[in-house]
């Protein structure tokens, strides 16, 4: 009487959901074509380019002097880094020597910018995870303070145009440094506060622990950089591994985790990076030498020697590279950005495979992608 028990799968159908380009969790205009089985993601196809503004094209059609003012928009959350990458590339070609004071100022403002970038990430990440009415306001509060400092030194809140080829554009006043110090003194307490609310929160842990595990092999295959790969255990931090500017003179360690990183590690890496940045800025303030801030006079009709150069800086999202080919004229022959977001985003389909729908936000948010940085 033993009848064969036939396993009949419940008939299910795949559903294609189209997330974006306007979706609250896609941080702008990414479009994800998701193939869902129930709530499980089968396949993801990111559709980019909804913010493709032709930044590289612009670089070839603007003079050096003009394009400098534009490039903060490449990665608007860390404009200092884009400026810095371009400035370094051009200085490399041109052989410009940047005065030490300018280098220290660059490090300082960049680390400040790293803090603002991570703060914004923290706020929006918690929004992605659903805590949208209370916590996200706190990181933004501190961000405003930094923005006030930026505004004083660079003239605008986000589009700084501060780091120029050959140096920086404005020397801060002593009061500015005092304000910065005051901020640095109170900021660690604020981070503690964030951590009280978030880090060990059981729901947050559930949402992030063992979610979106990025293995080293995959990360290397896709060329992932930045906090994402450091939290996966590869100590790639340009500031240490390939030190540029005055980073060799500053004391700090690369933040890495031993194991393969999940979403929570990526969160933790950024929190630790903020704390690290505080220390770096403190050291910079202490060591800030006096002197000139501009190595080479900036002029409207400046020219860069013919040649090509590639320079990279460690932006909050990873290695931000700038590949410049100059023909010796007023304009570049080719500008090419190596954007960390673009490269990091490529792992998204890999990470999303088999995840529930809700994890898309947790994972996508944790990669920290800025869409103009992807689309340029």
């Amino acid at each position: 009487m033993a009848t064969e028990i036939q396993e009949i799968d419940l008939k299910t159908d795949e559903m294609i959901i189209n997330m974006g380009p306007q979706h609250p969790a896609t941080h702008g205009v990414l479009r994800l074509l998701l193939t869902l089985d129930g709530e499980t993601v089968k396949h993801t196809e990111p559709v980019l380019g909804h913010l493709h503004r032709g930044q590289e094209w612009q670089g070839q059609n603007r003079t050096w002097f003009q394009y400098q003012a534009l490039i903060d928009r490449v990665d608007y959350l860390s404009g200092m880094f884009t400026s810095w990458a371009m400035a370094r590339a051009c200085e490399e070609i041109d052989g410009t020597v940047v005065p030490p004071r300018a280098e220290y100022l660059r490090v300082m403002v960049s680390e400040m910018n790293r803090i603002t970038s991570h703060l914004l990430w923290l706020g929006t990440y918690l929004i992605d995870l659903g805590a949208m009415f209370g916590f996200p306001f706190y990181p933004f509060r501190e961000r405003e303070k930094l923005f006030d400092l930026f505004e004083e030194i660079a003239g605008q809140r986000m589009m700084f145009n501060y780091i120029r080829i050959g140096g920086v554009v404005r020397d801060p006043k002593p009061e500015w440094l005092d304000k910065l110090k005051r901020f640095l003194d109170e900021f660690p307490d604020r981070i503690d506060e964030y951590e009280t609310i978030v880090t060990q929160n059981p729901i947050f842990l559930k949402r992030t622990k063992d979610v979106g595990i990025l293995t080293q092999a995959v990360a290397k295959d896709y060329g992932v950089t930045g906090p994402c790969i450091r939290s996966s255990g590869i100590p790639l931090d340009l500031r240490r591994t390939k030190p540029y500017s005055v980073y060799p003179e500053l004391k700090f360690d690369v933040i890495t985790f031993d194991k393969e990183g999940d979403t929570w590690d990526r969160y933790m890496a950024r929190i630790l990076e903020m704390r690290q940045s505080i220390e770096i800025i403190r050291q910079c303030i202490d060591k800030l030498p006096s002197g000139d801030i501009m190595g080479k006079k900036q002029m409207a009709g400046m020219r860069i020697k013919a040649g090509e150069g590639f320079s990279a800086v460690e932006s909050p999202r990873g290695i931000l590279g700038c590949y410049v080919i100059s023909g010796g004229g007023e304009k570049a022959l080719r500008f090419r950005w190596r954007n960390p977001s673009f490269c990091n985003l490529a792992i998204l389909p890999e990470l999303l495979k088999g995840c529930p729908l809700s994890d898309i936000m947790a994972i996508f948010g944790s990669i920290d992608v800025i869409l103009p940085d992807v689309d340029r």
Binding site: N18, H50, R73
Partner: protein, 289 residues
Amino acid sequence: MSQGNMSTSAKPNTNPVVPEEIRDSVSISSIDFMIDALGQMLSPVLSPVANLARSNSVWPMTFGTSCCAIEMISVGMSAFDISRFGSEVFRATPRQADMIITAGTITRKMAPALITLYEQMPEPKYVIAMGACTITGGMFNDSYSVVQGVDRIIPVDVFLPGCPPRPEGILDALLKLQQKIRTENYADRRKKLYAQTSVRKVDYDTGRPLEDLIGVVQEDTNAALSSGQEAIGDVAKGISPKAEEAKTVATKPVAPKVEVAKPEVTSPEAKKVENTKDEAAEKADDKSV
């Protein structure tokens, strides 16, 4: 013109006042006509109340593409606190939003989505063009892929220059929008729904406008401005010259994908993806041969 007449005669039940292009997002019943007529009557009484309420609860949509979006978030945050003006209720879905702040560059690829979002919003809807990119294209005004001003594709109420504007600037724009709302006439605003033709469709796959409508739209808006009074009577009769003009302007709506897409629309879209993929592959093959 003739096209419009034809379709009205063919489908007598369909309300002729609604332009073809927005029919999929709007359904109008005879009640609406009654309300319309009522609105005309009550407008002097209703307008102040409605405007006061509307101006004080302008719910923006979370639409942000780039840098300006960050400032748009900032303005909702503690330091600037748009909630003081009742606008902190950022709605993710266009159906519940009153205002769209086009925060950030609108590219040719993004334009169809923006248009769809705009059309999905219920009346009364307002647009703040925020930042240089959306007003004129700004620093990308010579770029190949940027729409040089959202006013080319959707009607804009307030222009807010800056790159990005300070959050206070957004508050300033909001206050100016509130001022504008307060001077509106309730009946006129209702009527404008039907005169709303200045949306220009953009093809998602090629990034080009479906029809080059510069001249036509100009005439149309001029007509709308000048023939305000006659239109009221026409609306009551159920025939609107503007609607017919609109027909000539209107093109078959493509359904560019945004997240609020309906299921049936999505799957064809996905198919389209496949198709275009094949096409692209073919094209590439052709070229290689």
